[in-house]
């Protein structure tokens, strides 16, 4: 288990973290709109996170922090 935090100030809702998460636990929050007008990504199941870092590797906006 790891903790995935998406900084919604940076997130542009591109969805690459969603596409590359092998656990399929990243989703865009369609009910949230950021200041820049995007639906930000978030982790819906921290328990299932394997800390593979794929989301962080593919995030173009360096919006993701991963903690053990």
């Amino acid at each position: 288990m790891a903790k995935v935090t998406v900084d919604i100030e940076y997130c542009k809702g591109c969805g690459l973290c969603v596409d590359f998460c092998p656990q399929e636990i990243m989703q865009l929050e369609t009910e949230v709109i950021t200041q820049k007008g995007y639906h930000p990504a978030h982790c819906v199941d921290q328990e299932s996170c394997t800390a593979c870092l794929n989301c962080a590797m593919m995030c173009p906006d360096v919006a993701i922090m991963i903690e053990r």
Binding site: D19, D61, M65
Partner: protein, 265 residues
Amino acid sequence: MATKTAATATQRNKAEKNPILFERTPALTTAITNYCPGCLHGITQRLVAENLEKLGITGTTVGVSPVGCSVIAYEFYACDMVQAAHGRAPAVATGLKRAHPENTVFTYQGDGDLASIGMAETIHAATRGENITVIFINNAIYGMTGGQMAPTSLPGQVTQTSPYGRDVKTAGYPIRVCELLSSLDGVAFLQRVTVDTPSNVRKAAKAIRKGFEYQRDGLGFSLIEVVSTCPTNWGMTPYAALEWLRENMLPYYPLGVYKDCKAGE
């Protein structure tokens, strides 16, 4: 077995001391980039910044931003930054490096900047063996101006200024920069990478690191070409753009090391 247990214990201790597995590198400023959602610029930019930190050279590095989508990169890197005229980044980097050879100097350029208007500067910095590192983003299009044909646009590629597809009879052929530069003696290191998957991102990070290490060791000109996407001007989702990159760009621009002055050592 005993060794393995010990290693695991070490790792655990390390983990307890530093529970953060991934975070934003201090070599990036806190500024929000101007890149479009899903644009791979941000990944390569992060890799450059992370390598500066890993090598402990953020404070002794000067970066040169080009004209193009990354024109404002000077706001994103925490090291000293110089903004250059279109295509002139290698010449500006030359001036910076000659004035302070002890500093690390890199340029961050797109395909229009590097391979069209700045081709003379690119080739001559390379052939001089200018001890700088060039990060070259090839996404086969002019991004900032709205998607015009680039020197690297593929045959048949539809862009704003090749609306019927790039016709090589009238518009000529794309330029393969790594192949072109590989014949020059001044070049120390040339590698073409991409950042379309997490594993390729890690390979790209290593290539960029190598570029900086070669510069540190005074070996000469290094260039890392990053095959990249432009979801906005390609008219695709970020993920579909990655697939287009794999299907269309990588066959024309094969990944690999095109020059390594240390090969065989």
